[in-house]
């Protein structure tokens, strides 16, 4: 299994209307590891993902994905993205969406098996707008995995899910890690970060203010205390 980093971000800076959104953020993600970005709303987590997918151009710093810049053909072929919310046409059915996404890749996951594994079958032909939040999240996760990515961005993948759906998602994310995929997980759920992450990066006001394994960060106090000590509150 490849172990060298597939994502290296150095001193990434972005501002909107003069307000810094990313203020020198550094991050490295390696295959077979879950790298969590844990931070309050407005900390810059989603902006960082948008930089990595080429939607936002950093004003300074560098981002390297599989040796290529964000948005390049090489990066796009090997990256999977689960957006924070929706991410699909309101009238499309999950089956149609996943078959369409599969057509964008040379060697996609078999859609029927993916649908079965994520429990999408019962609502495969229901328009996306009529799905529950949990069902939409399942479809979004399937969409992120259908192209057999080497790096997956999961932007708050379990926000709004009930406990059972959350556990199912965590189990699948762990399988994806075990298969050698690098995962960047954004969350503000301490328990999720503690359960899944190999490395936690606490982000506040666009920069990493603390990082390490959960064991390293919680040597003296629990993760919530570490989070509070290293963040300044929501900006959203």
């Amino acid at each position: 299994m490849q172990t060298s980093p597939v994502l290296v971000a150095r001193d990434v800076r972005v501002s909107f209307g003069g307000v810094p959104a990313l203020d020198g953020l550094d991050l490295v993600a390696a295959p077979g590891r879950i790298t969590a970005l844990l931070g309050p709303n407005g900390a810059g987590k989603t902006t960082f993902i948008r930089c990595c997918t080429g939607l936002v151009a950093p004003e300074a710093g560098s981002i390297d994905l599989f040796g290529s810049p964000p948005g390049s053909a090489t990066a796009r072929a090997r990256v999977g993205l689960m957006p924070q919310s929706t991410g699909a046409w309101s009238g499309i059915t999950p089956g149609h969406l996943l078959r369409y996404l599969a057509r964008l890749y040379a060697d996609p996951q078999p859609v029927a098996e993916l649908v079965s594994r994520l429990g999408i079958g019962p609502f495969e032909n229901t328009p996306y707008r009529r799905l529950s939040g949990g069902q939409q999240q399942a479809v979004n996760l399937a969409g992120a995995l259908v192209g057999r990515p080497g790096l997956v961005f999961l932007d708050e993948p379990t926000a709004g899910l009930d406990v059972r759906a959350k556990r199912n998602t965590w189990a699948l994310v762990s399988e994806v890690r075990a298969a050698g995929v690098a995962i960047v997980l954004t969350t503000h759920d301490m328990h999720e970060a503690a359960t899944l992450a190999d490395e936690v990066n606490i982000v506040d006001r666009g920069a990493v203010t603390a990082k390490g394994t959960v064991a390293e960060l919680t040597r003296d106090v629990d993760l919530e205390e570490v989070f509070l000590a290293n963040t300044t509150g929501d900006r959203a």
Partner: protein, 247 residues
């Protein structure tokens, strides 16, 4: 059931990607009831009205039929495209797809192909209905060539304006403005010939994309090609400058 999740990601051939996107966009637009109303129901109603009552309004059917084809282009390539794209931004569809092998260029290519396919189908159906109702288009090859060029340029110009609107405004605003502009455009040259306006207003109507498209299809006015080419360049350049992929 276990999946092989090992990372082997690679992109499909470019043509396959773009065609997959075009097909999906076209199917979603075709299945949308409101879009069908704009695309076929209203134009066919106008064709029927023009055929049986147009003379009373001094609008001969020979003029109404090409006007309706211009309306089809205007409704699909401006109104429908603007509304669909506005909601794609809202629902993070563009954000998700720009991270796939399709990328931004592929999205635009697929979108253009999809809307062109829808519009072509619409024009074929409406032209067929018009022919059944007795329309006999001018067989002059020069007129036909001008009309064809105007149709293609009108589609691109309308699309550029649609993307400029959808790429900057909130989708609710896009929805309202696109429908309002659709109605204004109908009056400003699409359905109503330029000659029906006061002489002082005619140059302005002729200089609008709607006026140039309508006149190009009705009268084969060569000036329309130039006007639409300018709108085409301006619209696409503006959309490239202002379009935001996220809402």
């Amino acid at each position: 059931m276990s999946l092989d999740l090992s990372p082997t990601g690679s992109a499909a051939p470019r043509t396959q990607q773009v065609l997959a996107h075009a097909r999906t966009e076209a199917l979603l637009i075709a299945r949308n009831g409101e879009q069908a109303l704009l695309a076929l129901v209203i134009p066919i109603a106008i064709l029927l009205g023009g055929r049986f009552f147009g003379d009373r309004l001094d609008l001969p059917f020979a003029s109404t039929a090409p006007s309706v084809l211009a309306l089809a282009i205007w409704s699909s390539c401006f109104t429908s495209l603007a509304i669909a794209t506005g909601f794609e931004r809202r629902y993070n569809v563009l954000e998700r797809l720009s991270a796939t092998p399709l990328g931004k260029t592929g999205i635009l290519l697929g979108k253009a192909l999809g809307i062109a396919a829808i519009t072509t189908g619409q024009v074929v159906v409406l032209a067929g209905v018009a022919l059944l109702l007795g329309w006999r288009p001018d067989p002059d090859p020069a007129h036909l060539l001008v009309a064809l060029l105007c149709a293609v340029l009108g589609m691109a110009a309308s699309a550029g304006l649609a993307l400029s609107l959808a790429g900057t405004a909130r989708p609710e605003v896009t929805l309202a403005v696109a429908n309002l502009v659709y109605l204004v455009g109908m009056a400003a040259g699409i359905m109503l010939p330029v000659a029906r306006y006061p002489s002082w207003l005619q140059p302005l109507i002729q200089a609008l994309p709607t006026g140039a498209l309508g006149e190009g299809l009705r009268s084969g006015t060569p000036l329309s090609i130039l006007v639409l080419a300018v709108w085409c360049i301006a619209g696409l350049a503006l959309s490239r400058k202002v379009f935001s992929w996220t809402s």
